[in-house]
């Protein structure tokens, strides 16, 4: 029984060009996001032809404002989805945080904006902690848990509203400083949008270049392998939920700042939009791949569809249908790209031998 160790005649095959593989991988990442970007540019182009005023200053600002909230939510959701989880409760968390912030500001008009923002984020983080603890400690599927908290947090929100006797918080109830924050611009760009961009950059860099970020990918890619390689799976997932909750809380504050009128239904039904934005942006629902930039682009694309379809003269009734068709087109495109890459990897593998 020595045959397996005979004839070590084969010399190690020539090193396969590392450049090419790296380039390929790089290209895939770029292409994924480029595809969405291209769709976005195409949509804007067509809309511009139909309505040249589409890119007027006011309209672009409005677009940014509308997108800001979804972008923040999508960035947070990306972290969670990458770990092979999902957080369906973000719409409810946004509602609760917006209402809490609004109540705080209405009762204490002297509260500085920063404190209001932190308070909103704290409310969100608390909700995220609840989700995260249940998911990570009890080891139960996040879809179920967050479906539960979707109902429960919304119920809490409206219960608060109906017992506090303040069903709606109007612009008049909010202090001027906060309202200014909602309308403020830097170099013509709405501050709310800048906040969203900052969030995306921070989350994006963390996911790409930090050990703890990479570990999130590991967890989503193969949970068992993550456990065996000593990654603190529970803690990482918990933190992802807390951060996502805090970002949903931040989105609640942005919501309050932007609309300045809120009741306890704020953000209802938003969860599917957020998941859709992430998925359109190339974040795989099965975990392990995706980027915050992609998700942000997805959010931007969905928002742009919302505002551009009416300008293309499309009957408003068509809007939902178009959004749905676009989501499907986006994931189909993404799939065909990844398939092509996988096929190429396979072919190379054979040749390399």
């Amino acid at each position: 029984m020595t045959a397996t160790t005979t004839t070590p005649t084969r010399t190690p095959p020539p090193e396969r060009s590392g450049r090419r593989g790296a380039a390929l991988l790089q290209r895939l990442v770029v292409v994924r996001e480029l595809g969405i970007l291209a769709a976005l540019v195409l949509l804007i182009g067509i809309t511009l032809i139909a309505n040249p005023r589409f890119l007027s200053g006011q309209n672009v600002r409005d677009l940014m404002l509308s997108a800001a909230i979804l972008v923040v939510l999508a960035a947070g959701q990306t972290m969670v989805i990458i770990t092979r989880n999902v957080d369906l409760s973000v719409g409810s968390v946004l509602g609760l945080s917006a209402y809490a912030t609004g109540t705080l500001l209405a009762n204490m008009p002297g509260t500085p904006v920063v404190v209001a923002v932190l308070a909103g984020m704290a409310v969100g983080a608390l909700c995220g902690l609840l989700n995260g603890v249940i998911v990570a400690v009890a080891k139960v599927p996040s879809l179920v848990v967050t479906l539960g908290t979707l109902y429960a947090i919304r119920g809490l929100d409206s219960l608060w509203g109906s017992t506090s006797g303040r069903l709606q918080i109007n612009a008049t109830d909010l202090p001027a400083g906060f309202k200014d924050f909602g309308g403020a611009r830097v170099l013509g760009i709405p501050v709310l949008f800048l906040v969203a961009i900052a969030v995306v950059v921070v989350v994006g860099i963390h996911l790409r270049s930090y050990r703890s970020g990479r570990e999130l990918f590991g967890i989503g890619s193969a949970p068992e392998a993550a456990r065996l390689s000593g990654i603190p799976v529970g803690r990482r997932v918990l933190v992802a939920f807390v951060v996502n909750g805090a970002l949903a809380g931040l989105a609640g504050v942005l919501y309050a700042a932007r609309f300045q009128t809120l009741d306890t239904t704020a953000g209802t039904g938003l969860e599917l939009n957020v998941v859709a934005a992430a998925v359109v942006g190339g974040v795989a629902i099965a975990g392990g791949t995706g980027s915050a930039w992609g998700a942000a682009l997805g959010a931007l694309l969905l928002t742009t569809i919302g505002t551009s379809l009416p300008q293309l003269g499309l009957d408003p009734f068509w809007r939902d249908a178009a959004v749905g068709a676009l989501i499907i087109a986006a994931i189909a495109l993404d799939k065909s790209l990844t398939d092509r890459l996988a096929a190429r990897l396979r072919g190379r593998n054979l040749r390399g031998r």
Binding site: A152, F317, I328, A332
Partner: protein
């Protein structure tokens, strides 16, 4: 084959007859029964036949759609577009009725439409290999959008009394709605398919490991495709029933019902990752959700609290087995004596 087992170290495995594990869903079913009994005594008006009728009417569509969706979830997929299919079927039904077609023709046409809608989902999932959660988030928006395209802001409401009354009236004077009988038949058929046929076995296999199922000769793609088609047809049937029950065909009918159906399925102990769970639990889950709401409404609990209760119930349903399993594990691993 002649194998010398006398000296073999391998103790031949015992057949598993002795300690049978409880059938899945028995916990939730027990819970349901306890709840019904308690509520029957504690809640005024809960245990009347009229209330039972209301309750069953409320749960009918959710239970109906839960049937095919349970099979889909067992295979590890999901269909979020079911409620939108209900809406689109309802719209199309209204539109066709408005065009003067007879209901006897409309109903089969709508069912065919449901099959087509389901097939679209199924083909996208099985042929293109797209994740069903993402696909059906897309068709959730698409089908609902098409429902509005068909009927816009109109409502078609002049359906014949004979049909609409059938949908809400009960068998004889029993208080049990007419719709319960066909529903029970469908439940029985689905239960047999899932639990006592080779098809059911293959559903569990592919839910746990698609690869292993394919390597065992199971045509995973085709099976899933047919399940999505079935979900489409049944949802369309739900659309027809919904339209008749409320006597109103509208594009926004059954908005959000998908979450109720999924809540029932998850409450019933079906794993969202596929491969485990049973129909008994799902039906119990659907009934439990509806009766808790009903009982709490009867004692004037506000709807905010109802939502909280629903959410907590869902979480408890998944966490509880985890906790008891953990506790049992602690007991078992304690050194004997």
């Amino acid at each position: 084959m002649a194998v010398d087992t006398s000296a073999g170290p391998a103790a031949p495995a015992r057949p598993s007859r002795a300690p049978r594990t409880l059938p899945s869903g028995s916990v939730i079913t027990t819970f349901l029964v306890v709840f019904l009994v308690v509520a029957g005594f504690a809640v005024d008006g809960f245990a009347s036949s009229r209330n039972a009728g209301f309750l069953l009417l409320d749960v009918a569509v959710v239970a109906l759609i839960a049937l095919p969706l349970t099979l889909i979830v067992v295979t590890g997929e999901i269909d979020l577009s079911v409620a939108s299919t209900v809406g689109l079927s309802s719209s199309v039904m209204g539109w066709l009725w408005f065009q003067g077609l007879p209901l006897e023709l409309i109903v089969p046409l709508v069912l065919v439409l449901g099959a087509v809608l389901g097939a679209v989902n199924g083909l996208l999932v099985t042929r293109l290999g797209l994740p069903s959660l993402a696909v059906t988030i897309g068709t959730l928006a698409l089908y609902r959008g098409l429902a509005f395209v068909v009927l816009g802001d109109q409502a078609v409401a002049d359906f014949p009394r004979s049909w609409t009354t059938w949908a809400i009236s009960s068998i004889g004077g029993t208080g049990i709605p007419n719709v319960v009988l066909p529903l029970l038949v469908l439940v029985a058929v689905t239960a047999v398919v899932l639990h006592a046929t080779p098809i059911g076995r293959s559903l569990y296999a592919m839910g746990n490991s698609e690869d292993a199922a394919r390597f065992s000769g199971i045509d995973v793609g085709r099976t899933k495709l047919w399940l999505f088609v079935a979900a489409g047809v049944v949802s369309a049937l739900g659309g027809v029933y919904w339209t008749l029950r409320y006597g109103s065909a509208r594009a926004d009918n059954a908005t959000g019902v998908e979450l109720q159906v999924i809540a029932a399925i998850l409450l019933g102990g079906v794993s969202i990752f596929g491969g485990s769970g049973g129909l008994l639990g799902v039906m119990a889950g659907a009934l439990l959700l509806a009766s808790v709401r009903n009982a709490l409404q009867l004692v004037n609990v506000p709807s905010d609290v109802l939502n909280i209760v629903t959410g907590v119930l869902l979480i408890v349903a998944v966490v509880a087995p985890q906790v008891t399993g953990w506790a049992r594990g602690r007991l078992a691993s304690r050194p004997p004596g």
